[in-house]
Symmetry: C3
Subunit: 267 residues, 3 copies
């Protein structure tokens, strides 16, 4: 796969200049970190989930991030209201299918969301995305580098059937739409030792999608920034507590030379 020239920094600069509002309906575990990652990138996070206000709040936003990590049926109804407004406004809707495959409620509610509103970008790990795609793939222990071929097929099948961009996070991250495939190879294994890095990745993608309409480019640029920051953080901190603190610091301090030197994206 050839290396891709992706100017992640130019998208980051747009975020820092425009400070786009990124509306979330997310889980109660990592809600703070999702908000803070948007903030350190330069965006303006808004978390609001009451059915009585989500449409109005989505109407003020430049992107909407949905995450089913601690879903209830009521919360999913609020997600549908927010997404319908986002669809009408023409702002991108990102769905993190967090925990898909674990319970039938999660599978059913993901499908309801995908059927009832337009989801512009679906994000999950390999087993979650495989479950949503309906594919009968062996997902235990799977990650994007080991079975990149099969996973990319699954992802692209889902991208085509749902007319969405699909992101599979793992040791390498895969970003596909109906015709394109990118692999982001940045990152660090300490990310998997910190609860919330997956949720934050979706919020990062949402923030980049708020200013970059090409969602494949937005997702890849966002993941490059997040993962390069993780690499820098891991150079300063060797254990999960300190690593997480440094991850926010390094996201805040990202600059063009670092991103240009570190970015490892292939297509």
């Amino acid at each position: 796969m050839p290396a891709i020239k992706l100017n992640a920094f130019s998208v980051l600069e747009k975020i820092r200049a425009a400070s786009p509002v990124v509306h979330h309906l997310t889980n109660w575990v990592t809600i703070y970190d999702c908000a803070q990652v948007v903030k350190v990138l330069g965006g303006s996070p808004v978390m609001a989930h009451a059915q009585e206000e989500v449409e109005e709040m989505a109407g003020l936003a430049s992107a909407l991030v949905l995450n089913i990590g601690t879903l209830t049926p009521e919360l999913v109804e609020a997600m549908k209201l927010a997404a319908a407004r986002a669809n009408a406004q023409g702002i991108p809707v990102i769905l993190d299918v967090c925990g898909a495959g674990a319970t039938s409620l999660r599978d059913r509610k993901c499908l309801e969301l995908l059927d009832e509103v337009r989801i512009d970008l679906i994000k999950g790990n390999a087993s979650e995305v495989a479950r949503i795609s309906g594919a009968q793939v062996r997902t235990k222990g799977v990650d994007a580098t080991e079975v990149a071929g099969d996973l990319a097929e699954v992802a692209q099948g889902l991208a085509i059937s749902r007319q969405a961009t699909v992101v599979i996070t793992g040791v390498a991250d895969l970003v596909v739409d109906g015709s394109r495939r990118l692999v982001v190879k940045n990152g660090h294994h300490l990310m998997s030792r910190v609860v919330g890095t997956g949720c934050m990745a979706a919020s990062v993608i949402g923030t980049f999608a708020a200013v970059e309409p090409d969602l494949v480019m937005a997702a890849a640029a966002g993941l490059v920034c997040f993962n390069v920051a993780a690499e820098l953080a891991a150079e300063q901190a060797k254990a999960p507590g300190s690593f997480k603190v440094k991850l926010f610091d390094c996201l805040d301090l990202l600059d063009e030379p670092i991103l240009a030197a570190r970015s490892r994206v292939s297509g």
Copy 2:
């Protein structure tokens, strides 16, 4: 405006000695940080929101902090129950009008709270307080130092109409009641790069109000402590992740000489 002699440390000492219980009904984003800031000051945070227990819990507290950051109608009903008990007990009720102006639900529920229970202190940023006051002020990009005159008018109008102390946070913080005006000029711009510093400011004020009945003095003393800690934290940490960690450390370590040397309050 003349410098004001405000013994913030003496109030902090009372908190450390009495460890007052500060009951919160707050948002799900910054709920941990609100609890932790009360704890590091020396108070005893309690977070409880079930309608079935909020009255009893408020009855055990020395102050009540309400924050509508992720409100639902049900949560606001619980806030009313807790506040009515707080009113009956004679303990101060602090309302953070977080996100007022963003949606009609927020505006309506703030007004319901202000109409149906006694709110002793209203806290928000410039645009939030302006919205609650009903003033037709230009609030985009407003902060307390730029338009101190106008803002103070708005705040004092609200203070008089609601018979409450009013706090507007910003680059400088404004504390007013019907007759007095104080400006707290401490703080650091990194505070605006960390989600939750605004919510924490309300919790700090609640903790000071738990031991100091003069709410103008309580709010100013609390803001001095919080903002001086932020200045100290910013001397040790240059980016948001580390800054937040140091903010809690510096609050814990505040002493009289530091506060006396750093406090910048004018009236």
Copy 3:
């Protein structure tokens, strides 16, 4: 009391090898820290509270942790569903009786849980456990070292009447069942300056109980690990913000020589 030979590290190694799923229904204040402490120990945290999925999720888990810190009646109903499934599966159920004694709702719901499902381990501080036991003990200011004799009686009475293991956390931690008593003397006073260390202790115990069927040994081993990590963290950080970051680091880095040298358990 004689020193006890407790191989806490061997249990920790089992967690690191098996990465057991630990399902939580917990409070909204410390939910992130509860998940993260399971993760840094090597376990796999799952937080899910919808009544529609808790049974299925508990069915995937190796232990269930319930914490009533921000309970509502609906959440407690979900806890009962999850616990009934856990009982049927034969996986341990840990109940943190957080805030028992503060309101009648908390007392009532704790008793409902204890009456309607099997709770394998009850964990609280001295006053909480005393309240649940129905004992008329003076609990203001009580801690395990001061009134170890009385507390152990109360705990053991509860252990016998509820056929459960009982843990009372304090300056020293007490672990009892119907016939055995252990005291874990590790720990550091900075733990009491950080919101959530009590909740995290219950999650730690749940993680150890997921791989060690003897719950007295599981609880004591978990508390030794958590408290030794706190001692190590306090050697690197003198204030609550930094201490909490280092606590996660030190849990991640625990090894056999450190645990063998530091463990202070007596029976």
